[in-house]
């Protein structure tokens, strides 16, 4: 591998951008395909499939064996609200290899005792996302769980603007209807607002906090595997 190719691959990873290194294992020839260039690539179909699964692997093309080194940014989950559901959600998300951050300005909720070993940020979402928490991007999932528009709305707006692959918000259909009105007034289009999954979580009849956490995580995995990310 040429050092320039390796440097470019590492740079894409550092910038949290997806890329695939295509190696002809017969003669060692290589090229780096960045995500925006996949559509125009002769191997577009195979590259897209591997990017979606997130798995490296061999493909055959034109009688040659090509190895695809797939590099996809690790998925982050940002949870708004240090609530009961989040307490169940954080360890379950960690088991799925999601890097979890919990944001809640209410210091009575956001305590290390309630969230041992969790990246906990006791700030308003705007302040958290402007400083200690890395910027949201399309390899992030955001779940707004506080029920409080003052806390949830700014985070949802940031997630929509950043193109997070998953944006979910807790609350009844009635609560969500009011949320849609507020976000519309804030200038978001119907299509943008339509990306918010509300009521949050797959419909598995979840009743307890842990069951709701499970339904949210299942929805996040489904969104990722459907091509959004992961």
């Amino acid at each position: 591998m040429r050092i320039e190719t390796l440097r470019a691959l590492n740079a894409e990873r550092a910038a949290r951008r997806a890329a695939i290194l295509v190696t002809d294992v017969g003669d060692g020839e290589q090229r780096l395909v960045r995500e925006p260039d996949i559509a125009a690539d002769p191997l577009a179909e195979a590259l897209r499939a591997h990017l979606t699964s997130g798995r490296s692997g061999l493909v055959e093309a034109g009688g040659r064996q090509l190895f695809l080194t797939v590099q996809v940014p690790p998925v982050r989950l940002v949870v708004i609200g240090a609530v009961h559901i989040s307490q169940a959600l954080a360890p379950m998300a960690a088991a799925l290899d999601l890097a979890v951050t919990v944001i809640d300005p209410r210091t009575a909720f956001a305590t290390p005792e309630r969230f041992p070993d969790v990246d906990l940020v006791p700030l308003w979402p705007d302040a958290a996302l402007a400083g200690p928490v890395p910027p949201l991007d399309r390899y992030c999932a955001l779940a707004a769980l506080t029920h409080d528009p003052k806390i949830d709305d700014p985070a949802l707006a940031a997630a929509l603007r950043a193109g997070c692959f998953y944006v979910g918000a807790l609350g009844s259909r009635k609560t969500h209807a009011r949320r849609v009105e507020r976000l519309t007034a804030a200038g978001f289009s119907e299509a943008e607002i339509g990306r918010i999954r509300a009521p949050i979580g797959l419909d598995i009849g979840a009743a307890t906090p842990a069951e709701i956490a499970l339904s949210v995580l299942a929805e996040i995995v489904a969104a990722g595997r459907a091509g959004g990310s992961a």
């Binding site: 591998m1 050092i3 294992v25 003669d27 798995r55 692997g57 080194t69 797939v70 590099q71």
Partner: protein, 107 residues
């Protein structure tokens, strides 16, 4: 990709930039109960130092020896390991799996 494997690629770049001779091994195919998944990396320098793993320890010695040859002649190659392999007596996978490893020089 496993987090540690991305660290291997960062190390490969750093080592090369520091002027060391570097070879990179990548697991490209596995059958059966192979210990490390496809895409796992091992980086080797001219002094035989290495980082990462392609088999959890079973065949690393052989891969490092071959890596030094790749550093010397610059030609990429594919290594295959498994219990049914003729090299099994010296570098077999005790788990019964088989793996193919692509080995290349970083230049």
């Amino acid at each position: 990709m496993h987090a540690t494997d991305t660290d291997i690629l960062a190390a490969a770049e750093t080592w090369r930039r520091d002027g060391r001779d570097v070879a990179l091994a990548t697991v490209i195919e596995t059958w059966g109960s192979a210990p490390r998944p496809v895409g796992s990396h091992l980086v080797i320098d001219g002094g035989g130092n290495f980082l990462g793993s392609v088999s959890g320890g079973c065949v690393e010695g052989e891969v490092i020896t071959e890596g030094l040859d790749v550093i010397a002649d610059g030609r990429s190659r594919i290594l295959e390991f498994g219990v049914a392999d003729e090299t099994a007596w010296r570098a077999g996978l005790s788990c019964g799996g088989r793996i193919r490893v692509f080995l290349e020089r970083v230049a």
